[in-house]
Symmetry: C2
Subunit: 367 residues, 2 copies
């Protein structure tokens, strides 16, 4: 293999596929990036067997085609640090790889590209299209409430419900449910899949936030493929049946308050300060008379906060894990939120004041 | 005790004295900040028994004088997070402390202020005055080469040589020597002290970088006091005799090069990339013909760099720990540096191109 390309193009590609490189594994080739050079230019692939990312072909001045697997960390560091505008890469029959740029030359041992695991093939039968920015926001507004422990594997992923005009994403960890709906630009049959949380975390880092960029989703029994145009992401799906969440979001409530999201976050964060193990102590909310009084009590002392609100319905006392409230409040964009309560031991529902594309349900703590 | 003050003033004071608060110790009161309220206002003190910091009195609206010790971490978090413009603090006879601001109230258990260790008394006989900004730069340019291990305690501090018109600071870790000289605004007898590295690190964080602010130094047998005007810092001194360093800085050299500091740093950093354990592998320098060739060799491969230089004298080959070169090059302000060599196994000396207020000596490695 021998080719020359723009350093910036190579670095951009490395930054994208790096999200799918394994940390230390028993299979060292998974710590590599596969570099494929053909007449069309070069492309980069990473694959940790759960998640794979591949760039489209990128322009290069190719003298000799070939493939090589190069340890991702050093490859990325070298390309980031060299200061020439262009980079030349050349390999010999023993996979020794020479990287040259400006007055710098590196010689590193590569691995045989043929040993690199292929990405799974996903047939592109049913296409669902949406804006990348919408998908990014959906992930951001739901990813934090996936389950952290592996006891119920389906809950370590998110449910994605696809139809011909909309997409819903749902996460549940046993204490709370995040739900977000967005429009599809085009869709197909109704279908549900469970996508690993790690995949969603990584893909959200490479999704564009420019209004016009689109992403196409394709689904098979075992895999989901996200086509971002400049790159594709392929992930395995989580098998199993997701829990029924719809009936939990009842519109049957006794108290509804409207409160400033930023004020409520600040007060809750301050109320947590009196615990060394911040955000784990319960906070008690006393709602009524157009204000919330927040109290917390821990080994270091007590905190007392008051916030003015609009309150419709009965007063009530209720306790929460403050982290569960704060995390949801932080991902809502509007400053005013509506919170609906039924009773001290019944779940409450948080929404932005307008619209119901985002909904969050949280179980209270017993006082 | 009962008083009200501006939140910002209290927070600034906490940020300054926090540098002298102990981490977890067997003496919990050392994790506190002492709050002293008198008719003059309030002042804050922290003391970890090696280093103590105290603010001057700060304006407050005092209803009742008194002293209290409050756990530094929670005190600082509360004052940082509350959003009122003013803060009121009130204690009862059991040291229970009520902090109120805006719609927030915290009640935390304080400790008896009488149990807080007094700062050592330093008599202000001999005063040495310099600009705070100069002291800050002196610390920055020398602190990185104090010894990290405790086998020779004097080397864990810096030698400070004071005279009637200048101040020198020196650090030595057995492989290299950093030396920096500055002018004093006023001085006194010749005197030498060894100040702990930790003290210098902490004080450099609170020294002003505004041109006109001055600091006065006072020294006794056991202690040094830095009077910054708005606060004082008192540190114990390290006892013992510092090593004789002057004769090491010889002007007897065979090769002198002039090189761009930024280019040399970048090349050395790139040469380190081929080691997983970055900056620990030796780099080999081949000097001659108006260029340096840098080579390094590690488990991952080899790196080769070239830099154009001005070279006066014989060519030579020499090897270094790259970190020792990079750290000194990073603290020099001028872009051009002069490096003087005698032989492959003799120390080399790095200086800015103009002036000799800063000098750095480094021992080479055997190739």
């Amino acid at each position: 293999m021998k080719f020359t390309c723009q350093r910036e193009n190579l670095l951009n590609g490395i930054n994208i596929v790096s999200k799918a490189v394994s940390g230390r594994t028993t299979l060292p080739i998974l710590e590599c990036i596969l570099l494929t050079v053909s007449k069309e230019g070069f492309k980069l692939t990473a694959n940790n067997l759960e998640l794979g990312i591949e760039t489209a072909f990128i322009d290069a001045d190719v003298e000799e085609t070939g493939i090589i697997a190069i340890e991702a960390k050093i490859f990325s560091e070298i390309i980031r640090r060299i200061n020439g505008e262009s980079v030349s890469i050349e390999t010999d029959e023993k996979n020794m790889t020479l990287i040259s740029s400006g007055f710098s030359q590196f010689k590193i041992a590569g691995q045989d590209g043929e040993d690199f695991p292929m990405l799974p093939i996903v047939e592109k039968n049913n296409e669902y299209v949406l804006f990348q920015n919408d998908l990014r926001n959906m992930i951001r507004q739901t990813i934090f409430s996936i389950a952290q422990d592996e006891s119920k594997p389906v809950l370590t992923g998110e449910l994605i419900e696809l139809s011909n005009n909309s997409i819903n994403m749902v996460s549940v960890d046993g204490y709370r449910i995040s739900y977000k709906k967005s429009n599809l630009i085009s869709g197909n049959d109704n279908i549900e899949v469970i996508v690993p949380g790690k995949t969603l975390n990584e893909i959200s880092k490479i999704l564009s936030n420019e209004g016009e960029d689109k992403v196409s989703l394709y689904v098979t029994d075992k895999h989901i493929l996200f086509d971002l145009g400049k790159s594709i992401v392929v992930s395995r799906l989580i098998e199993g049946e997701y829990i029924k969440y719809r009936q939990s979001f009842t519109e049957d409530f006794k108290t509804k308050i409207i409160v400033s999201r930023s004020e409520l976050i600040s007060s809750l964060e301050r109320a947590c300060l009196i615990s060394r193990d911040s955000k784990k102590i319960p906070v008690k909310l006393e709602i009524g008379g157009n204000r919330i009084i927040i109290n917390s009590n821990a080994e270091l002392g007590t905190a007392h906060e008051e916030i003015e609100i609009d309150c419709d319905g009965d007063g009530l006392k209720i306790a929460f894990n403050p982290r569960y409230l704060i995390e949801a409040l932080k991902v809502i964009e509007e400053d005013k939120v509506a919170i609906q309560f039924t009773a001290s031991l019944s779940p409450c529902i948080i929404k932005p004041l307008d619209g119901d594309e985002y909904k969050y349900l949280i179980l209270p703590l017993r006082m």
